[in-house]
């Protein structure tokens, strides 16, 4: 492999230069450099391996040009367990792609060494196609981890569905030991999930598939029924069902650690189904420590079905405006709440709602408030009640409304006092 790899401007090759310098000296030992220099050419492979593990790929590649021994070390299987394919086009991305020659080399020489693989693609369809192309060639791989990540618009969704599915199922069928799978924003469907399950049910621990519109509740239920080792799951609300939660809480199933649910509205006025309290209770009984992370991107009027009963949510994110009323219900019904983010509320102060959350959500340790309003006094009261358990307090400066008790300049001292550390609100430039 010749020096066609283009150098990253910031790519620090200082470590690499040093190595090359030392190796040069090894070939032409000078009088004063001592005999240590000449030993660099004879480092045992195991030691070289350790050194190479600290170098990023580009530096390793340069090092591999130095001599035959180092070139051999470069190709040792241990260095090819993890790889991230970066697939971009100059017309759609500022970042550089993994060199096509390198990709060819990997498929030729190292595909059976690969275990932890991810694909990062930009918004162009060509990049997604290139990813599928590589995937279909990974026949000799027994992957443990596979991640398909879109760094901008989800280009996997623009591929013909069958093309994507056939590439993906190559990995499902051949790996047989997939433990971690990230396929958010892809056209994966129920039949392909069946293939996944048929081949990897013993090993699958993590499955992230938010925004996969071709999957149905039945499809995901199949996964929960068969993959009893599943510990982490991420999906959209429309795939959530009472049956799913019960399947995840069945005796055969391990404790669930992490469940992420995205609740996204396609059109205003969308109706959402409800989940029975008993299903949530079963989950908590089975996996008392599990994290339930919920992202809400709804219009204010769509929150009707939510937070009417107790729900074991631990991390709650409101991406759009959420009403005072709903936040009041959150205070009443989310005793396990650990983290809360409210991007926007309205122009009426959230004083009561915050105090109630401080009272009833005893585990709360992180809160972020965006376009909301809270009076300074209520905020100080809130912090006092939570005390030092609040390790994350991210409040935009405009949120706090000065009142007769506190001005903006005074409030940060009060809050710092109760938190036991120096605290300031988040600031935005004003110019």
């Amino acid at each position: 492999m010749k020096r066609r790899l283009s150098r990253d401007i910031e790519g620090s090759s200082s470590s690499c230069e040093e190595l090359m310098e030392v190796c040069k000296r090894a070939r032409h030992p000078s009088e004063d450099s001592g005999d240590l220099a000449s030993n660099w050419a004879w480092i045992p492979q195991e030691v070289l391996l350790r050194i190479f593990q600290y170098l990023p790929l580009l530096d390793r590649a340069f090092a591999s040009q130095v001599c035959h021994g180092w070139n051999q070390a470069f190709h040792m299987p241990e260095l090819w367990r993890c790889f991230e394919f970066e697939l971009t086009q100059p017309a759609s991305s500022y970042l550089k792609a993994t060199h096509p020659d390198l990709i060819k080399q990997i498929i030729k020489r190292h595909s059976n060494h690969l275990q932890y693989v991810s694909f990062k693609v930009d918004s162009s369809t060509e990049s997604a196609e290139a990813a599928c192309d590589i995937l279909s060639q990974l026949v000799n791989c027994s992957l443990k981890t596979l991640g398909l990540i879109s760094t901008a618009r989800p280009s996997f969704m623009e591929l013909p569905k069958s093309h994507f599915i056939s590439a993906l199922t190559v990995v499902f069928v051949n790996s047989k030991s997939l433990s971690s799978l990230k396929i958010d924003d892809t056209p994966v469907d129920d039949p392909s999930l069946k293939v996944l399950v048929a081949n990897n049910s013993d090993t699958l621990k993590l499955l992230k598939m938010s925004s996969c519109p071709h999957v149905s509740p039945a499809g995901i239920l199949c996964v929960a029924d068969q993959c009893h080792g599943l510990r982490e799951l991420a999906l959209n609300y429309h795939l959530l069902s009472d049956e799913l939660l019960l399947a995840l809480s069945s005796e055969k199933h391990v404790h669930l650690e992490h469940l992420r649910i995205d609740v996204v509205s396609e059109n205003p006025g969308q109706q959402f189904h409800t989940i029975k309290k008993s299903s949530w209770d079963a989950m908590v009984r089975h996996s008392p420590k599990f994290n339930l992370v919920m992202y809400f991107f709804l219009y204010e009027e769509e929150f009707g079905p939510f937070f009417r009963d107790e729900i074991p949510v631990t991390h709650l994110y409101f991406g759009r405006s959420v009403s005072k009323d709903v936040l009041g219900r959150v205070g009443m019904n989310c005793p396990r709440l650990v983290e809360l983010v409210v991007c926007a509320n309205g122009l009426r102060p959230l004083d009561e709602e915050l105090i109630r959350i401080a009272e009833r959500c005893k585990q709360l340790s992180a809160i972020g408030l965006g376009e909301c309003e809270v009076s300074c006094s209520a905020f100080v009261e809130f912090v006092k009640m939570c005390g030092r358990r609040l390790s994350q307090l991210s409040i935009m400066e405009e949120v706090l409304i000065p009142d007769h008790k506190y001005s903006l300049d005074e409030i940060h001292w009060e809050v710092s006092k109760h938190l036991g550390r120096v605290w300031f609100p988040d600031m935005m430039p004003t110019w």
Binding site: P56, S93, P154, V264, Q392, R421, W431
Partner: protein, 573 residues
């Protein structure tokens, strides 16, 4: 023999608080004030007509004020490096003065001119007056690195001596025997050109909402202070619909061009506060506008790549999308979101928008909806925004796109909701987007949701007379918040791929902005190392007992003292 001086105007377009100009005049026989205009035919593309008009008005004002002192402004075509040698000879110059320019390219240009001048036997005097402080002192106080959080910056400032007092305005008395030789044909040779002469098409150009010049600036600052005194309230004013409109007391463009001295503003604010509140120590928040400006100047002064993502040590590399079509829609106010389009229309027409409006459109372009690079937005602002100079513009864009400066990314401005909360009636929209005038307040922020009957009544069909929304905001913001999370997770690069970062005792981060990173054995919670490696910003390892899902965790080291604690913001997953 009394020297012949040139004072070189770049920014600092004023006669008040201009120490470099004073030095040019002091003891001199002749003084000539020059301004270089290049390229001359800036108007060929009609880009930035407001900015050019403002500048020409500043130059006109300078010329007219200099006339009162029997002097004139000399506007010269060409590059300083090419023209100065001729001028030094022709006018027998022995002294050159100018105001210090802290921006990296300014420093480079000035170093070259200084060299040129010294070779020609010309004494060079440079004075700081565009910023409140000597920025190099701030950096020195922070251990050789510019502070990267605003809080840290404020802490450093509060430890320094206050800014120097503004010097007196240039007067006939000060000038004494110093004169300016003005030829008969001065106006033809060195007069301030008009917009038309520069190639701009001014037919139908509405009059300037923000008139340029020192005279206007000084009038405004009096008005600004009067209003503050009358309100007797120095708190940040609550945002309302009126705040969105251009204010006759707005000062930012004048500060940018230097028509108004920031030091003058600083001291007048201080005096007023002391008079009204009868206490002697104003809080730092009083100077908010000035200090943000200073903060960005400080951050940029040693970083020539401050306005870029690649090769910029303080900028996170985010995989922005390249999408010229989408960018054009944003820049030309055709996004289909009235709030965004109205703001961009005001920007293009008038040259100024409220800072919260800037947040809204910047967020929409970058991390909120379009996922386009902040560098593109910065270029559009540079052309259209009167107060956007290099450091402040680039810095603000990096801030608003969450590319640097440690801020949280969880909060995204909604292009419908934010506007609606600020101006419920929608008057701002109607003013700048007359095509939407017929919509009732209920639908004016999201007219695509209006029933057909309402659209027909408003004589504006969405998709025909006004574009449909170019993105689905819920979907876009959901995706983008996930992307941002990925970026910051990716910064702890080796997690999830089996390797773990080793950490060592955290050094005092107010001494060093970065430390070295090493990878070897398992994490021990009390040790922690930050590093800059390759082109990533911070490589971080996770050691928190508590994992945050949505935000960047704040780690507070027990070993750092209170002042440096605020610079200890480290990211993890």
């Amino acid at each position: 023999m009394a020297p012949n001086s040139i004072h070189w105007f770049r920014k600092g377009l004023r006669l008040h608080d201009n120490p470099a100009l004073q030095e040019a005049v002091r003891g001199a026989g002749t003084i000539r004030c020059v301004y270089f205009l290049d390229p001359w035919f800036a108007g060929s593309s009609n880009l930035g007509v407001n900015r050019w008009r403002f500048l020409l008005q500043c130059l006109d004002d300078l010329d007219s004020n200099l006339r009162k002192l029997n002097s004139r402004l000399f506007v010269i075509r060409g590059q300083p490096a090419n023209v100065f040698p001729r001028l030094f000879k022709e006018w027998e110059i022995s002294r050159l003065t100018f105001e210090y320019d802290s921006e990296p390219f300014g420093k480079e240009r000035d170093a070259a001119i200084k060299k040129l001048a010294m070779e020609a036997g010309v004494e060079v005097i440079i004075k700081i007056s565009h910023t409140l402080y000597n920025l190099d002192k701030i950096i020195e106080l922070n251990g050789g690195q510019p502070p990267l959080t605003y809080k840290r910056f404020q802490t450093l400032i509060s430890r320094m001596d206050p800014p120097e007092m503004p010097v007196e305005t240039l007067s006939s008395a000060f000038m004494g025997c110093c004169i300016t030789p003005v030829s008969e044909d001065h106006s033809e040779k060195y007069g301030v050109p008009s917009l038309e002469e520069l190639g701009f098409d001014t037919e139908g150009l509405p009059s300037a909402v923000w008139p340029g010049g020192e005279t206007e600036a000084l009038t405004r600052i009096e008005r600004h202070l009067e209003r503050k005194a009358w309100v007797a309230n120095f708190e940040r004013p609550r945002m309302n619909a009126n705040s969105l409109l251009a204010s006759p007391t707005g000062l930012s463009p004048y500060l940018r061009f230097g028509c108004l001295s920031c030091r003058l503003f600083y001291f007048k604010l201080t005096d007023l506060y002391r008079k009204v509140k009868k206490t002697s120590t104003p809080p730092l928040s009083l100077y908010g506008q000035l200090l943000w400006r200073e903060f960005f100047y400080t951050a940029a002064t040693t970083n020539p790549r401050f306005d870029k993502m690649e090769g910029n040590p303080i900028c996170v590399r985010i995989p922005w999308d390249k999408n010229p079509e989408a960018l054009a829609k944003w820049a030309e106010a055709k996004t289909g979101f009235p709030w965004i389009d109205a703001i961009m229309t005001q920007l293009r027409q008038e040259g100024w928008i409220h800072h919260l409006a800037r947040h809204a459109v910047a967020c929409f372009l970058t991390r909120g909806d379009l996922w386009i690079s902040w560098e593109e937005g910065m270029k559009v602002f540079e052309e259209l925004l009167l107060d956007a100079d290099w450091s402040v513009n680039a810095g603000s864009w990096m801030w608003l796109s969450c590319s640097s400066f440690f801020q949280q990314f969880f909060h995204c401005y909604c292009p419908v909701g934010f506007g609606r909360r600020t101006d419920p009636n929608g008057d701002f929209i109607r003013r700048y987007l007359p095509v939407l005038r017929g919509f009732p307040a209920k639908y004016i922020y999201d007219p695509w949701n209006a029933p057909d009957s309402v659209q027909a009544a408003a004589k504006c069909i969405i998709g025909v007379h006004y574009p449909k929304p170019m993105v689905n905001h819920a979907e876009a913001s959901r995706l983008n918040i996930e992307r941002m999370k990925q970026i910051y997770q990716q910064l702890s690069r080796y997690r999830g791929l089996g390797q773990v970062l080793a950490i060592s005792e955290a050094l005092m981060l107010d001494e060093k902005a970065w430390l070295t990173l090493s990878c070897s054995s398992p994490v021990t919670p009390h040790q922690l190392t930050l590093g800059i490696a390759h082109s990533d910003l911070w490589l971080v390892c996770s050691w928190l007992a508590m994992e945050t899902q949505f935000m960047k965790p704040q780690i507070h080291s027990a070993c750092a003292d209170a002042a440096s604690r605020d610079s200890l913001e480290i990211y993890s997953e």
